[in-house]
Protein backbone atom coordinates (compact mmCIF):
# COMPACT_ATOMS: atom_id res chain seq x y z
CA UNK A 1 0.00 0.00 0.00
CA UNK A 2 1.38 3.42 -0.98
CA UNK A 3 0.55 6.77 0.56
CA UNK A 4 0.24 9.93 -1.44
CA UNK A 5 0.17 13.42 0.03
CA UNK A 6 -1.53 15.64 -2.49
CA UNK A 7 -0.94 19.40 -2.35
CA UNK A 8 -1.29 19.75 1.38
CA UNK A 9 -1.39 23.23 2.90
CA UNK A 10 -2.33 24.19 6.40
CA UNK A 11 -2.48 27.15 8.74
CA UNK A 12 -3.12 27.35 12.47
CA UNK A 13 -4.93 30.66 12.89
CA UNK A 14 -2.80 33.19 11.09
CA UNK A 15 0.33 31.05 11.03
CA UNK A 16 0.86 29.27 7.75
CA UNK A 17 2.50 25.99 8.73
CA UNK A 18 2.65 23.92 5.54
CA UNK A 19 2.50 25.05 1.92
CA UNK A 20 1.67 22.84 -1.02
CA UNK A 21 3.34 19.59 0.01
CA UNK A 22 3.08 16.72 -2.45
CA UNK A 23 4.86 13.47 -1.69
CA UNK A 24 4.67 9.80 -2.59
CA UNK A 25 5.58 7.17 -0.05
CA UNK A 26 6.14 3.92 -1.97
CA UNK A 27 5.45 0.57 -0.34
CA UNK A 28 8.41 -1.04 1.38
CA UNK A 29 10.46 2.15 1.57
CA UNK A 30 11.39 4.45 4.43
CA UNK A 31 10.92 8.12 3.60
CA UNK A 32 12.63 10.48 6.03
CA UNK A 33 11.27 13.97 6.61
CA UNK A 34 13.89 16.42 7.86
CA UNK A 35 13.59 20.11 8.49
CA UNK A 36 14.20 22.74 11.16
CA UNK A 37 12.07 22.52 14.25
CA UNK A 38 8.67 24.16 13.92
CA UNK A 39 8.50 23.63 10.16
CA UNK A 40 5.44 21.40 10.41
CA UNK A 41 6.86 17.86 10.29
CA UNK A 42 4.73 16.56 13.15
CA UNK A 43 1.70 18.33 11.72
CA UNK A 44 2.24 16.66 8.35
CA UNK A 45 2.53 13.28 10.05
CA UNK A 46 -0.74 13.84 11.92
CA UNK A 47 -2.39 14.51 8.57
CA UNK A 48 -0.85 11.38 7.07
CA UNK A 49 -2.39 9.17 9.75
CA UNK A 50 -5.76 10.90 9.89
CA UNK A 51 -5.39 12.38 13.38
CA UNK A 52 -6.00 15.86 11.99
CA UNK A 53 -7.38 17.34 8.75
CA UNK A 54 -5.37 19.69 6.52
CA UNK A 55 -6.97 22.98 5.51
CA UNK A 56 -6.49 22.00 1.89
CA UNK A 57 -5.11 19.03 0.03
CA UNK A 58 -5.68 15.30 0.53
CA UNK A 59 -4.00 12.23 1.92
CA UNK A 60 -4.59 9.20 -0.32
CA UNK A 61 -4.07 5.48 0.15
CA UNK A 62 -3.10 3.73 -3.07
CA UNK A 63 -3.96 0.07 -3.07
CA UNK A 64 -5.37 -1.98 -0.23
CA UNK A 65 -3.55 -2.82 2.98
CA UNK A 66 -2.10 -6.34 3.10
CA UNK A 67 -4.10 -9.23 4.50
CA UNK A 68 -4.26 -9.44 8.28
CA UNK A 69 -3.47 -5.77 8.73
CA UNK A 70 -5.38 -4.48 11.77
CA UNK A 71 -4.39 -0.81 11.74
CA UNK A 72 -2.96 0.28 8.37
CA UNK A 73 -1.54 3.60 9.55
CA UNK A 74 0.27 3.12 12.85
CA UNK A 75 2.23 5.69 14.84
CA UNK A 76 5.36 5.50 16.91
CA UNK A 77 5.61 8.57 19.10
CA UNK A 78 8.60 10.48 20.40
CA UNK A 79 7.36 10.21 23.99
CA UNK A 80 6.54 6.47 23.60
CA UNK A 81 2.91 6.94 24.73
CA UNK A 82 2.85 3.76 26.83
CA UNK A 83 0.12 3.32 29.43
CA UNK A 84 2.05 3.47 32.71
CA UNK A 85 -0.50 1.27 34.47
CA UNK A 86 -0.12 -1.61 32.05
CA UNK A 87 2.76 -4.04 31.81
CA UNK A 88 4.72 -4.49 28.59
CA UNK A 89 2.40 -7.33 27.66
CA UNK A 90 -0.67 -5.28 28.60
CA UNK A 91 0.45 -2.38 26.46
CA UNK A 92 0.72 -4.64 23.44
CA UNK A 93 -2.54 -6.43 24.16
CA UNK A 94 -4.32 -3.05 24.46
CA UNK A 95 -4.24 -2.60 20.68
CA UNK A 96 -5.40 -6.17 20.01
CA UNK A 97 -8.36 -6.23 22.43
CA UNK A 98 -10.47 -3.90 20.32
CA UNK A 99 -10.06 -6.17 17.33
CA UNK A 100 -11.50 -9.04 19.33
CA UNK A 101 -8.14 -10.77 19.53
CA UNK A 102 -7.83 -12.37 22.94
CA UNK A 103 -6.59 -15.52 24.58
CA UNK A 104 -4.37 -17.84 22.56
CA UNK A 105 -4.33 -15.75 19.41
CA UNK A 106 -3.31 -12.65 21.30
CA UNK A 107 -0.67 -14.61 23.22
CA UNK A 108 0.88 -15.81 19.98
CA UNK A 109 1.04 -12.32 18.48
CA UNK A 110 2.40 -10.76 21.67
CA UNK A 111 5.06 -13.42 22.02
CA UNK A 112 6.12 -12.96 18.41
CA UNK A 113 6.47 -9.17 18.55
CA UNK A 114 8.26 -9.30 21.91
CA UNK A 115 10.78 -11.74 20.47
CA UNK A 116 11.29 -9.50 17.47
CA UNK A 117 11.99 -6.52 19.72
CA UNK A 118 14.04 -8.59 22.20
CA UNK A 119 11.67 -7.92 25.07
CA UNK A 120 10.53 -11.45 25.92
CA UNK A 121 12.12 -11.33 29.36
CA UNK A 122 10.33 -8.11 30.27
CA UNK A 123 6.73 -9.01 29.41
CA UNK A 124 5.60 -8.44 33.00
CA UNK A 125 7.57 -5.26 33.67
CA UNK A 126 5.85 -1.90 34.08
CA UNK A 127 6.99 1.04 31.92
CA UNK A 128 8.50 2.79 34.96
CA UNK A 129 10.96 -0.07 35.31
CA UNK A 130 12.25 0.25 31.74
CA UNK A 131 14.94 2.45 30.23
CA UNK A 132 14.06 4.89 27.46
CA UNK A 133 15.36 2.60 24.74
CA UNK A 134 13.33 -0.32 26.05
CA UNK A 135 10.20 1.81 26.28
CA UNK A 136 10.55 2.73 22.64
CA UNK A 137 11.05 -0.94 21.79
CA UNK A 138 7.78 -1.68 23.56
CA UNK A 139 6.13 1.00 21.41
CA UNK A 140 7.65 -0.63 18.32
CA UNK A 141 6.40 -4.04 19.47
CA UNK A 142 2.93 -2.57 19.96
CA UNK A 143 3.04 -1.12 16.44
CA UNK A 144 4.21 -4.42 14.93
CA UNK A 145 1.37 -6.27 16.68
CA UNK A 146 -1.26 -4.60 14.49
CA UNK A 147 0.66 -5.50 11.31
CA UNK A 148 0.72 -1.96 9.95
CA UNK A 149 0.90 -1.14 6.26
CA UNK A 150 2.65 2.15 7.02
CA UNK A 151 4.55 3.14 10.16
CA UNK A 152 4.38 6.82 10.98
CA UNK A 153 7.32 7.64 13.22
CA UNK A 154 7.64 11.07 14.81
CA UNK A 155 11.21 11.53 16.04
CA UNK A 156 11.13 8.08 17.63
CA UNK A 157 14.73 8.28 18.81
CA UNK A 158 14.93 11.92 19.83
CA UNK A 159 14.22 11.31 23.51
CA UNK A 160 17.06 8.81 23.77
CA UNK A 161 20.78 9.20 24.42
CA UNK A 162 23.26 8.82 21.55
CA UNK A 163 24.31 5.24 22.32
CA UNK A 164 20.76 3.99 22.74
CA UNK A 165 19.88 5.73 19.50
CA UNK A 166 22.61 3.83 17.63
CA UNK A 167 21.43 0.53 19.08
CA UNK A 168 17.83 1.20 18.20
CA UNK A 169 18.76 2.27 14.67
CA UNK A 170 20.45 -1.11 14.25
CA UNK A 171 17.28 -2.74 15.59
CA UNK A 172 15.11 -0.85 13.11
CA UNK A 173 17.41 -1.77 10.23
CA UNK A 174 17.26 -5.39 11.36
CA UNK A 175 13.47 -5.32 11.50
CA UNK A 176 13.24 -3.73 8.05
CA UNK A 177 15.75 -6.16 6.50
CA UNK A 178 13.85 -9.18 7.75
CA UNK A 179 10.50 -7.80 6.70
CA UNK A 180 10.50 -4.50 4.76
CA UNK A 181 7.94 -2.03 6.05
CA UNK A 182 6.72 1.27 4.67
CA UNK A 183 7.42 4.27 6.82
CA UNK A 184 7.37 8.01 7.08
CA UNK A 185 10.16 8.80 9.49
CA UNK A 186 10.28 12.32 10.90
CA UNK A 187 13.55 13.47 12.42
CA UNK A 188 15.68 16.53 12.84
CA UNK A 189 18.76 14.35 13.15
CA UNK A 190 20.50 14.08 9.79
CA UNK A 191 22.60 11.08 10.85
CA UNK A 192 19.38 9.13 11.46
CA UNK A 193 17.99 10.25 8.14
CA UNK A 194 20.95 9.00 6.13
CA UNK A 195 21.10 5.71 8.02
CA UNK A 196 17.43 4.82 7.68
CA UNK A 197 16.03 6.70 4.69
CA UNK A 198 15.66 5.35 1.18
CA UNK A 199 14.50 8.81 0.34
CA UNK A 200 15.08 11.99 2.32
CA UNK A 201 12.74 14.92 1.97
CA UNK A 202 14.13 18.25 3.14
CA UNK A 203 11.53 20.79 4.25
CA UNK A 204 12.16 24.51 4.46
CA UNK A 205 11.49 26.49 7.61
CA UNK A 206 7.92 27.50 8.36
CA UNK A 207 5.83 27.52 6.23
CA UNK A 208 7.17 24.09 5.36
CA UNK A 209 7.74 23.44 1.68
CA UNK A 210 9.65 20.65 0.00
CA UNK A 211 13.15 22.02 -0.68
CA UNK A 212 14.81 18.95 -2.04
CA UNK A 213 14.39 15.20 -2.24
CA UNK A 214 17.53 13.08 -1.93
CA UNK A 215 17.55 9.39 -2.84
CA UNK A 216 20.08 7.04 -1.29
CA UNK A 217 20.55 3.86 -3.29
CA UNK A 218 22.78 1.99 -0.81
CA UNK A 219 20.85 -0.86 0.84
CA UNK A 220 20.07 -0.29 4.52
CA UNK A 221 21.96 -3.36 5.66
CA UNK A 222 25.19 -2.05 4.15
CA UNK A 223 25.02 1.34 5.81
CA UNK A 224 27.27 1.45 8.83
CA UNK A 225 28.20 3.92 11.52
CA UNK A 226 30.52 6.57 10.04
CA UNK A 227 30.08 5.44 6.41
CA UNK A 228 31.98 7.83 4.05
CA UNK A 229 29.29 7.94 1.33
CA UNK A 230 26.61 8.67 3.88
CA UNK A 231 28.78 11.39 5.40
CA UNK A 232 28.85 13.10 2.04
CA UNK A 233 25.06 13.03 1.76
CA UNK A 234 24.76 14.23 5.34
CA UNK A 235 27.08 17.17 4.64
CA UNK A 236 25.02 18.07 1.62
CA UNK A 237 21.83 17.93 3.70
CA UNK A 238 23.39 20.04 6.41
CA UNK A 239 24.35 22.61 3.76
CA UNK A 240 20.69 22.81 2.81
CA UNK A 241 19.45 22.95 6.37
CA UNK A 242 21.93 25.24 8.04
CA UNK A 243 20.58 28.56 6.87
CA UNK A 244 16.98 27.45 7.30
CA UNK A 245 17.68 26.24 10.79
CA UNK A 246 19.45 29.44 11.75
CA UNK A 247 16.65 31.60 10.37
CA UNK A 248 14.03 29.41 12.03
CA UNK A 249 15.87 29.65 15.33
CA UNK A 250 15.87 33.44 15.23
CA UNK A 251 12.17 33.81 14.49
CA UNK A 252 9.88 34.87 17.27
CA UNK A 253 7.75 32.06 18.55
CA UNK A 254 4.12 33.01 18.83
CA UNK A 255 2.45 30.27 20.75
Amino acid sequence: MDIRLDQISHAYGDTQVLRDISLDIPAGKIVCLVGPSGCGKSTLLRFAGGLERPASGRVLQLGTPPEGCLNPLTYIFQDFALLPWRSVRGNVSLVLEDHGIRGKRAEAIIEDVLIRTKLSDFARALPKQLSGGMKQRVAIARALAVKPAVMLMDEPLSALDAQTRELLMDDLIGLWTRQPFTSIYVTHNLAEAVRLGHRIVVLSRRPGQVREVVEIAKPLAERTYGDADLDKVQRHLWGLMRDEARAADEELIDV
Binding site: L51, A81, L94, V95, E97, R142, V146
Partner: protein, 268 residues
Amino acid sequence: MSETAGREPIEVRFRGGGFAPNSRRWVGFAVFVALIAFVEWGTRAGWITSLTLPRPSDVLATFVGLWESGLLFKHLVPSLTRLVIGAVIGATAGIAVGILIGLFSYMRAGVVPVVAAIFPIPKIALLPLFVIWFGIDEGSKYALIAFGTFTPTVVATYGAVDNVDRSLIRMGQSFGLTWWSIVRKIVLPGAMPGILSGLRISLAIAIILLVAAEMLGAEYGIGAYILEAGSLYDLERLFVGVVILSLLGIIVSAAIAAVERRLLAWRT
Protein backbone atom coordinates in the same frame (compact mmCIF):
# COMPACT_ATOMS: atom_id res chain seq x y z
CA MET B 1 41.71 29.88 42.16
CA SER B 2 45.48 30.08 42.36
CA GLU B 3 45.49 31.00 46.05
CA THR B 4 44.49 27.52 47.17
CA ALA B 5 48.02 26.54 48.07
CA GLY B 6 48.52 26.07 51.79
CA ARG B 7 44.86 26.52 52.74
CA GLU B 8 42.77 24.00 54.60
CA PRO B 9 40.24 22.31 52.29
CA ILE B 10 36.67 23.03 53.37
CA GLU B 11 34.08 20.38 52.91
CA VAL B 12 31.20 21.42 50.65
CA ARG B 13 28.18 22.13 52.80
CA PHE B 14 25.26 19.73 52.22
CA ARG B 15 22.16 21.63 51.21
CA GLY B 16 20.10 18.99 49.36
CA GLY B 17 17.77 17.27 51.82
CA GLY B 18 14.11 17.77 52.69
CA PHE B 19 11.09 18.12 50.41
CA ALA B 20 10.88 14.35 50.10
CA PRO B 21 8.28 12.97 52.49
CA ASN B 22 8.96 9.45 53.58
CA SER B 23 7.05 7.11 55.77
CA ARG B 24 7.48 7.74 59.53
CA ARG B 25 4.29 6.27 60.91
CA TRP B 26 5.39 6.03 64.52
CA VAL B 27 5.69 9.83 64.72
CA GLY B 28 1.94 10.28 64.33
CA PHE B 29 1.33 7.61 66.92
CA ALA B 30 3.80 9.20 69.34
CA VAL B 31 2.11 12.59 69.00
CA PHE B 32 -1.24 11.02 69.95
CA VAL B 33 0.24 9.24 72.94
CA ALA B 34 2.00 12.40 74.12
CA LEU B 35 -1.16 14.50 73.84
CA ILE B 36 -3.26 11.98 75.75
CA ALA B 37 -0.62 11.53 78.42
CA PHE B 38 -0.41 15.30 78.82
CA VAL B 39 -4.18 15.64 79.36
CA GLU B 40 -4.20 12.68 81.75
CA TRP B 41 -1.44 14.29 83.78
CA GLY B 42 -3.20 17.66 83.79
CA THR B 43 -6.54 16.29 84.93
CA ARG B 44 -4.94 14.17 87.63
CA ALA B 45 -2.74 17.02 88.88
CA GLY B 46 -5.81 19.22 88.96
CA TRP B 47 -4.73 22.12 86.72
CA ILE B 48 -7.21 20.93 84.13
CA THR B 49 -10.63 20.92 85.78
CA SER B 50 -13.12 18.17 85.04
CA LEU B 51 -15.36 20.79 83.47
CA THR B 52 -12.71 21.68 80.90
CA LEU B 53 -11.70 18.22 79.72
CA PRO B 54 -12.61 14.72 80.83
CA ARG B 55 -9.87 12.45 82.12
CA PRO B 56 -8.70 10.16 79.25
CA SER B 57 -8.78 7.09 81.49
CA ASP B 58 -12.43 7.85 82.37
CA VAL B 59 -13.25 8.18 78.69
CA LEU B 60 -11.64 4.80 78.11
CA ALA B 61 -13.66 3.30 80.96
CA THR B 62 -16.87 4.73 79.50
CA PHE B 63 -15.94 3.28 76.14
CA VAL B 64 -15.33 -0.16 77.65
CA GLY B 65 -18.67 0.10 79.40
CA LEU B 66 -20.38 0.98 76.14
CA TRP B 67 -18.74 -2.01 74.48
CA GLU B 68 -19.66 -4.43 77.25
CA SER B 69 -23.29 -3.33 77.36
CA GLY B 70 -23.55 -4.06 73.63
CA LEU B 71 -24.77 -0.52 73.02
CA LEU B 72 -21.65 0.32 71.02
CA PHE B 73 -22.74 -1.83 68.10
CA LYS B 74 -26.32 -0.70 68.43
CA HIS B 75 -25.03 2.81 67.69
CA LEU B 76 -22.26 1.87 65.30
CA VAL B 77 -24.17 -0.41 62.92
CA PRO B 78 -26.85 2.06 61.82
CA SER B 79 -24.23 4.81 61.55
CA LEU B 80 -21.94 2.73 59.35
CA THR B 81 -24.88 1.65 57.20
CA ARG B 82 -25.87 5.27 56.63
CA LEU B 83 -22.30 6.27 55.94
CA VAL B 84 -21.69 3.48 53.44
CA ILE B 85 -24.98 3.81 51.56
CA GLY B 86 -24.88 7.61 51.44
CA ALA B 87 -21.21 7.82 50.48
CA VAL B 88 -21.49 5.10 47.83
CA ILE B 89 -24.45 6.83 46.19
CA GLY B 90 -22.80 10.25 46.35
CA ALA B 91 -19.35 9.14 45.22
CA THR B 92 -20.64 6.97 42.37
CA ALA B 93 -22.87 9.71 41.04
CA GLY B 94 -20.07 12.22 41.53
CA ILE B 95 -17.52 10.17 39.62
CA ALA B 96 -19.99 9.52 36.79
CA VAL B 97 -20.99 13.17 36.45
CA GLY B 98 -17.35 14.28 36.80
CA ILE B 99 -16.28 12.01 33.96
CA LEU B 100 -19.14 13.24 31.76
CA ILE B 101 -18.10 16.83 32.46
CA GLY B 102 -14.53 15.92 31.60
CA LEU B 103 -15.55 14.34 28.30
CA PHE B 104 -18.35 16.50 26.92
CA SER B 105 -18.18 20.26 26.43
CA TYR B 106 -21.94 20.66 26.75
CA MET B 107 -21.95 18.87 30.09
CA ARG B 108 -19.12 21.11 31.22
CA ALA B 109 -20.83 24.28 30.11
CA GLY B 110 -24.14 23.21 31.64
CA VAL B 111 -23.24 21.41 34.84
CA VAL B 112 -20.10 23.13 36.15
CA PRO B 113 -21.99 26.34 37.08
CA VAL B 114 -24.66 24.25 38.82
CA VAL B 115 -22.02 22.40 40.83
CA ALA B 116 -20.31 25.68 41.68
CA ALA B 117 -23.65 26.99 42.90
CA ILE B 118 -24.47 24.04 45.18
CA PHE B 119 -20.92 23.42 46.44
CA PRO B 120 -20.88 26.25 49.03
CA ILE B 121 -24.38 25.56 50.39
CA PRO B 122 -24.00 24.02 53.85
CA LYS B 123 -25.87 20.80 53.20
CA ILE B 124 -26.93 20.68 56.85
CA ALA B 125 -29.08 23.74 56.16
CA LEU B 126 -31.03 21.65 53.68
CA LEU B 127 -31.79 18.87 56.14
CA PRO B 128 -35.39 20.04 56.80
CA LEU B 129 -35.94 20.07 53.05
CA PHE B 130 -34.57 16.54 52.71
CA VAL B 131 -36.85 15.41 55.51
CA ILE B 132 -39.83 16.62 53.50
CA TRP B 133 -38.53 15.10 50.25
CA PHE B 134 -37.23 11.77 51.53
CA GLY B 135 -39.00 11.26 54.85
CA ILE B 136 -37.80 11.54 58.44
CA ASP B 137 -36.34 8.01 58.39
CA GLU B 138 -33.26 6.76 56.66
CA GLY B 139 -34.04 8.38 53.29
CA SER B 140 -33.20 11.91 54.33
CA LYS B 141 -30.01 10.76 56.04
CA TYR B 142 -28.79 8.95 52.93
CA ALA B 143 -29.70 11.97 50.83
CA LEU B 144 -27.80 14.39 53.04
CA ILE B 145 -24.63 12.30 53.04
CA ALA B 146 -24.90 11.50 49.33
CA PHE B 147 -25.46 15.13 48.41
CA GLY B 148 -22.52 16.25 50.55
CA THR B 149 -20.09 13.75 49.01
CA PHE B 150 -21.39 14.35 45.49
CA THR B 151 -20.13 17.88 44.87
CA PRO B 152 -16.48 17.52 45.98
CA THR B 153 -16.26 14.22 44.10
CA VAL B 154 -17.53 15.86 40.90
CA VAL B 155 -14.99 18.67 41.14
CA ALA B 156 -12.08 16.32 41.88
CA THR B 157 -13.10 13.92 39.10
CA TYR B 158 -13.40 16.36 36.26
CA GLY B 159 -10.14 17.97 37.30
CA ALA B 160 -8.55 14.53 37.20
CA VAL B 161 -9.99 13.80 33.75
CA ASP B 162 -8.66 17.13 32.49
CA ASN B 163 -5.22 16.11 33.67
CA VAL B 164 -5.11 12.81 31.79
CA ASP B 165 -2.18 12.87 29.37
CA ARG B 166 -3.66 13.89 25.99
CA SER B 167 -0.89 12.11 24.13
CA LEU B 168 -2.15 8.80 25.51
CA ILE B 169 -5.64 9.54 24.20
CA ARG B 170 -4.10 10.43 20.82
CA MET B 171 -2.28 7.11 20.91
CA GLY B 172 -5.55 5.27 21.56
CA GLN B 173 -7.23 7.02 18.65
CA SER B 174 -4.28 6.31 16.38
CA PHE B 175 -4.66 2.59 17.05
CA GLY B 176 -8.34 2.74 16.22
CA LEU B 177 -9.59 2.06 19.76
CA THR B 178 -13.31 2.65 20.23
CA TRP B 179 -14.53 5.63 22.20
CA TRP B 180 -15.65 3.38 25.03
CA SER B 181 -12.30 1.58 25.14
CA ILE B 182 -10.46 4.89 25.35
CA VAL B 183 -12.66 5.99 28.26
CA ARG B 184 -12.36 2.68 30.09
CA LYS B 185 -8.72 1.83 29.46
CA ILE B 186 -7.07 5.25 29.20
CA VAL B 187 -9.18 8.05 30.70
CA LEU B 188 -10.45 6.24 33.78
CA PRO B 189 -7.15 4.73 34.97
CA GLY B 190 -5.38 7.97 34.11
CA ALA B 191 -7.82 9.94 36.24
CA MET B 192 -7.69 7.46 39.14
CA PRO B 193 -5.01 9.26 41.21
CA GLY B 194 -7.04 12.47 41.19
CA ILE B 195 -10.31 10.66 41.87
CA LEU B 196 -8.87 8.87 44.89
CA SER B 197 -7.39 11.99 46.44
CA GLY B 198 -10.78 13.64 45.90
CA LEU B 199 -12.44 10.74 47.72
CA ARG B 200 -10.29 11.37 50.78
CA ILE B 201 -11.94 14.77 51.15
CA SER B 202 -15.42 13.59 50.15
CA LEU B 203 -15.44 10.78 52.70
CA ALA B 204 -14.29 13.05 55.51
CA ILE B 205 -17.19 15.32 54.62
CA ALA B 206 -19.47 12.26 54.67
CA ILE B 207 -18.49 11.54 58.27
CA ILE B 208 -19.19 15.14 59.28
CA LEU B 209 -22.61 14.98 57.65
CA LEU B 210 -23.35 11.61 59.21
CA VAL B 211 -23.36 13.21 62.64
CA ALA B 212 -25.44 16.12 61.41
CA ALA B 213 -27.99 13.74 59.87
CA GLU B 214 -28.29 11.72 63.06
CA MET B 215 -28.96 14.76 65.17
CA LEU B 216 -32.46 14.82 63.76
CA GLY B 217 -34.81 11.97 64.42
CA ALA B 218 -32.40 9.16 65.06
CA GLU B 219 -32.68 6.91 68.09
CA TYR B 220 -29.41 5.12 67.52
CA GLY B 221 -26.21 6.25 65.86
CA ILE B 222 -22.97 7.96 66.82
CA GLY B 223 -24.53 11.33 66.11
CA ALA B 224 -27.53 10.67 68.34
CA TYR B 225 -25.19 9.40 71.06
CA ILE B 226 -23.04 12.54 70.91
CA LEU B 227 -26.08 14.82 70.87
CA GLU B 228 -27.57 13.14 73.91
CA ALA B 229 -24.27 13.27 75.80
CA GLY B 230 -23.90 16.94 74.91
CA SER B 231 -27.33 17.93 76.13
CA LEU B 232 -26.61 16.18 79.45
CA TYR B 233 -23.15 17.73 79.59
CA ASP B 234 -21.72 14.25 79.95
CA LEU B 235 -18.17 14.98 78.79
CA GLU B 236 -16.94 11.39 79.05
CA ARG B 237 -19.61 10.08 76.72
CA LEU B 238 -19.24 13.08 74.43
CA PHE B 239 -15.56 12.30 74.05
CA VAL B 240 -16.22 8.62 73.48
CA GLY B 241 -18.37 9.65 70.52
CA VAL B 242 -15.76 12.06 69.23
CA VAL B 243 -13.02 9.44 69.52
CA ILE B 244 -15.16 6.97 67.57
CA LEU B 245 -15.54 9.54 64.79
CA SER B 246 -11.80 10.17 64.75
CA LEU B 247 -11.13 6.45 64.53
CA LEU B 248 -13.62 6.24 61.69
CA GLY B 249 -11.74 8.99 59.88
CA ILE B 250 -8.41 7.23 60.37
CA ILE B 251 -9.85 3.93 59.13
CA VAL B 252 -11.34 5.54 56.01
CA SER B 253 -8.07 7.31 55.28
CA ALA B 254 -6.11 4.08 55.74
CA ALA B 255 -8.55 2.21 53.50
CA ILE B 256 -8.03 4.76 50.73
CA ALA B 257 -4.27 4.52 51.20
CA ALA B 258 -4.56 0.75 50.79
CA VAL B 259 -6.63 1.14 47.62
CA GLU B 260 -4.06 3.62 46.30
CA ARG B 261 -1.23 1.22 46.97
CA ARG B 262 -3.08 -1.45 45.01
CA LEU B 263 -4.46 0.59 42.12
CA LEU B 264 -1.66 3.10 41.76
CA ALA B 265 1.36 0.83 42.10
CA TRP B 266 2.31 1.90 38.57
CA ARG B 267 3.19 5.38 39.77
CA THR B 268 6.81 6.19 40.45
